[in-house]
């Protein structure tokens, strides 16, 4: 019955936090006989189990790979710091959850890179697995280390650590890559020759077979492949028909509570909006919808196969899904019969969404979310956030009339062209919303004071956005702006109704450096890791000083990567990636932003971004 034995001893499991993170065996996890498979893939989310298990992309690839008879895909996560120390001290190799066998025995080790601050955790996983950190030192004894996910739209800072990078959506090319691998192993070719051949598959980049040169001013001059038949540009892979794509209908259900402890239904991929700060909006273009029929069927299957008590819709902007009304009506009816909660994503506040929220949430307890991103209209035009103050106030008024009295507002500080007046406008907006509440709701109907929560994050320019040329603020400027926001809120009449939170400045600065860094940053990542940096995405684990010291030791100027405005003709480290959206279009958007000109969304009018070259989604359907 229970033949699985665990990699960790009983004593270790009893010493660490949440031992269930490391035992595997969850419902719908896949066990195979290793003698019967030809290829073993260790899929890693380089963060703690509860975070990694909440990621849909991992469930998609896990399910898809395990449907292949000759492949066994298992999972690996970063051991939390308590176990990390024990593994190092007792020299226990890192293992995959299903077989509990060392990662080093696998054919592939795949990382999904969802945020830059996980890079030191990639090194942690490699080191604990006994795999050389530098790709150049690896032999056939080591797994092929491959990376994917949004961060690899600039893979250069981590290029040293990866054998291969998969650019784009994972559904399309893995079978081809596996077949090539199996053929190469049978043929007995060198590891480099395999990487060379893999680099000719669409969307696959073999970073160490490319040589980067730098100009005098420190910017990238060019990139040359070591083999003539390797492509100069790597074109992103895209699923053209989402209805036909694989979807995990039997996702793994963790024993312990994951961050995303519910059914996730991905309604569409991509976004019609052209918010100029948003990377996801560009790299997942064009928007492709799943049909309502497909989603209804998936929902039913998922409820039956998981037993979750909650379902949520996922996409970059669910309000833009054309079948939303039909889908939600169906789900609400179906779910209330089965006592399942429908958890709504942050929908645009209008009569429809308020009506839906009223049906599925307790109005007194739930809060409304607005993401104006900036306080002033001038700033919202610069970032092309198609949301006006009137929209917000109108939505809020309707909500107050419907009984809501909690409002959450999200803003960014440090946006391009920002002036102090744009920051104080955040306080104005919060105050106006509070005032509107007292105007709208008569005293006898009020459930206490209105509660407004304003949160600010710091703007980080990302590759493949209109703001990839933009300067970023430094630490002191960020802190000053957060204080200015706080103080201007404190001056308002309704200050007692407004609470203010801001994001850590140090991690934002570091994320900015890693996001737009070049290949030279790799040695800083390695240095920082060697000096104890790990779990940088966790505020309490983050050490800004260690990172700054690493830059100093490596003789690299971090300011170069974030503080300057980049010239229109600068060659970026990530220019060799073709994500559909062209640099010419992004530059045009950058120029328009500086003039405060807005651009229409994909549904209103095509603005010629270049994603139409994929011939799918909204680019080929009637608007």
């Amino acid at each position: 019955m229970n033949t699985r034995s665990l990699a960790l001893s009983h004593d270790i499991l009893m010493k660490i936090e949440k031992p269930a993170r490391y035992i595997g065996g969850e419902l719908n996890s896949t066990m195979k006989e290793k003698a019967r498979v030809k290829l073993r893939f260790a899929m890693c989310f380089p963060d703690v189990y509860e975070i990694g298990m909440s990621h849909l992309g991992m469930q998609i690839l896990y399910g898809m790979f395990n449907e292949m008879e000759d492949v066994w895909c298992e999972r690996v996560f970063s051991p939390w710091v308590d176990l990390d120390q024990i593994l190092r001290r007792e020299q226990i190799p890192l293992f995959a959850l299903e077989s509990q066998e060392p990662v080093s025995r696998f054919d592939f080790l795949g990382f999904t890179l969802q945020y830059e601050m996980c890079y030191t955790n990639v090194l942690q996983v490699l080191e604990l697995s006994g795999i050389p950190l530098s790709a150049k030192e690896r032999t056939w004894k080591d797994p092929i280390v491959i990376g994917g996910g949004p961060c690899i739209y600039n893979p250069e800072p981590i290029a040293d650590f990866f054998d291969l990078i998969y650019v784009g959506e994972g559904e399309t090319r893995y079978r081809e890559l596996f077949d090539l691998y199996l053929a190469c192993r049978e043929e007995g070719v060198s590891r480099e020759e395999f990487l060379h051949r893999a680099g000719r598959i669409g969307g696959i980049y073999a970073p160490n077979l490319y040589h980067v040169t730098y100009a005098q001013d420190g910017t990238v001059q060019g990139m040359t492949p070591e083999y003539e038949d390797l492509p100069k540009t790597i074109r992103k892979e895209t699923v053209t028909d989402l209805d036909a794509a694989y979807y995990p209908l039997k996702p793994i259900v963790p024993f312990i509570r994951a961050t995303q402890d519910r059914i996730v239904l991905e309604v569409q991929r991509g976004c019609i909006r052209g918010c100029r700060f948003c990377q996801a909006g560009q790299i997942y273009k064009p928007i492709r919808e799943r049909s309502v029929e497909t989603l209804k069927r998936y929902a039913g299957e998922l409820m039956k196969n998981t037993g979750y008590e909650e379902i949520s819709l996922s996409s970059l902007s669910t309000s833009d899904y054309t079948g939303l009304q039909e889908l939600l009506e169906y789900l609400i009816a179906e779910c209330s019969a089965r006592k399942i909660n429908v958890s709504l994503p942050s929908l645009r506040i209008d009569a429809f969404s308020l009506d839906v929220m009223n049906k599925v949430q307790d109005v007194r307890k739930s809060s409304l979310t607005f993401a104006p991103e900036a306080g002033s209209q001038r700033m919202r035009d610069i970032i092309n956030k198609g949301l006006t103050k009137e929209d917000i106030l109108h939505g809020a008024k309707m909500a107050f009339e419907g009984g809501w009295n909690k409002v959450k507002l999200y803003f960014m500080l440090g946006l391009p062209q920002e002036e102090d007046a744009d920051i104080t406008a955040i306080a104005d907006l919060c105050n106006d919303i509070a005032a509107l509440y007292y105007e709208t709701v008569p005293k006898e109907n009020r459930q206490g004071r209105i509660q407004i929560t304003a949160s600010t994050s710091f703007f980080i320019p990302k590759p493949f956005t209109a703001f990839q040329w933009a300067p970023m603020n430094g630490m002191e400027e960020f802190v000053r702006k957060a204080m200015l926001t706080k103080n201007s809120i404190m001056e308002k009449l309704n200050k007692k109704s407004i609470s203010y939170h801001w994001h850590e400045a140090g991690t934002s600065v570091m994320e900015g450096i890693l996001a737009r860094g070049d290949r030279r940053v790799g040695k800083v990542i390695l240095d920082a890791y060697r000096h104890g940096c790990i779990y940088d995405a966790w505020t309490e684990q983050y050490h800004h000083d260690r990172w700054m010291e690493a830059f100093e030791r490596q003789g690299l100027d971090w300011e170069f990567y974030i503080l300057r405005e980049r010239a229109a003709d600068e060659v970026f480290p990530w220019d060799f990636i073709d994500c559909g959206v062209t640099k010419r279009y992004l530059l045009r958007e950058w120029e328009r932003a500086k003039k405060g000109e807005t651009t229409s969304n994909c549904r209103e009018q095509c603005s010629g971004c270049g994603a139409a070259s994929y011939q799918c989604g909204i680019c080929i359907s009637a608007r």
Binding site: M14, I23, G25, V253, I256, R257, M303, G307, K339, N341
Partner: protein, 219 residues
């Protein structure tokens, strides 16, 4: 109208490393997957009416633990057991399902005793006899910040050494006084200066009392 079903289950192998709350959440999902017509509480966030007899500590294996659910309808007990076993994760199995008579006490309130098995190679029959002859066995018990002394002897109903150095214990349990197997092992260790391991304990059965006060398995 609803019926309370008492579900007896076992848990063995790696899955023992999940905690009690996660075990509850696991069974809530299993009940959903099995498509059981379970009764929900009233209110805005309805939850399944489910109660566990005795929390299972992390790493404790069980051959006989219990929880109750209220169902609005059900085909028969065997079908419910089959439905649940059709949707279990490795290492967890439903042993039996019984319908409780109306007005029966819930699983937790019924608990009076439990059987345990633990490997105890250092313990001899002699030691065990000496131990059982003691009129009182006082241990220090920590309740919050205070430490009080407690006599656990009356709560030890039976101790036996079985094959392969396995120590069997029948201990008083429930809200009315609860003796933990680790407390007994601790006392043995202290009195005879032997090593005991209280981490790998197997719970074999949980008992309630019948009308005459005799211990009977919960389901």
């Amino acid at each position: 109208m609803s019926t309370t079903l008492r579900i007896k289950f076992e848990r063995t192998g790696p899955v023992c490393y999940i905690g009690h709350l996660d075990m509850m959440r696991y069974f809530q999902k299993a009940v959903m997957r099995a498509g059981i017509d379970v009764r929900y509480s009233e209110g805005f966030n309805p939850h399944q009416i489910m109660s566990f007899a005795y929390p299972l500590g992390v790493s404790m294996e069980t051959r006989g633990d219990y929880f109750d659910i209220d169902v609005l309808s059900y085909p028969d007990c065997e079908t419910i057991a089959d439905q649940l076993n059709g949707v279990m994760a490795d290492g967890i199995r439903v042993i039996s399902v019984t319908a409780l008579p109306e007005g029966a006490k819930n699983a937790m309130a019924s608990v009076a005793a439990a059987d345990y098995l633990v490997s105890c190679p250092a313990l001899t029959d002699d030691m065990l006899q000496q131990f059982l002859l003691r009129k009182e066995i006082i241990i220090a018990k920590e309740t919050g910040k205070k430490t009080s002394m407690e006599d656990i002897r009356p709560g030890i109903f039976a101790l036996e050494l079985r094959e392969d150095h396995m120590l069997f214990m029948k201990l008083k349990s429930g809200s009315d006084g609860n003796i933990k197997p680790a407390a007994v092992l601790g006392a043995l260790s202290e009195i005879f200066s032997i090593e005991t391991d209280s981490d790998r304990i197997i719970r074999l059965e949980i008992y309630g009392k019948d009308g005459e006060g005799t211990l009977v398995p919960l389901g």
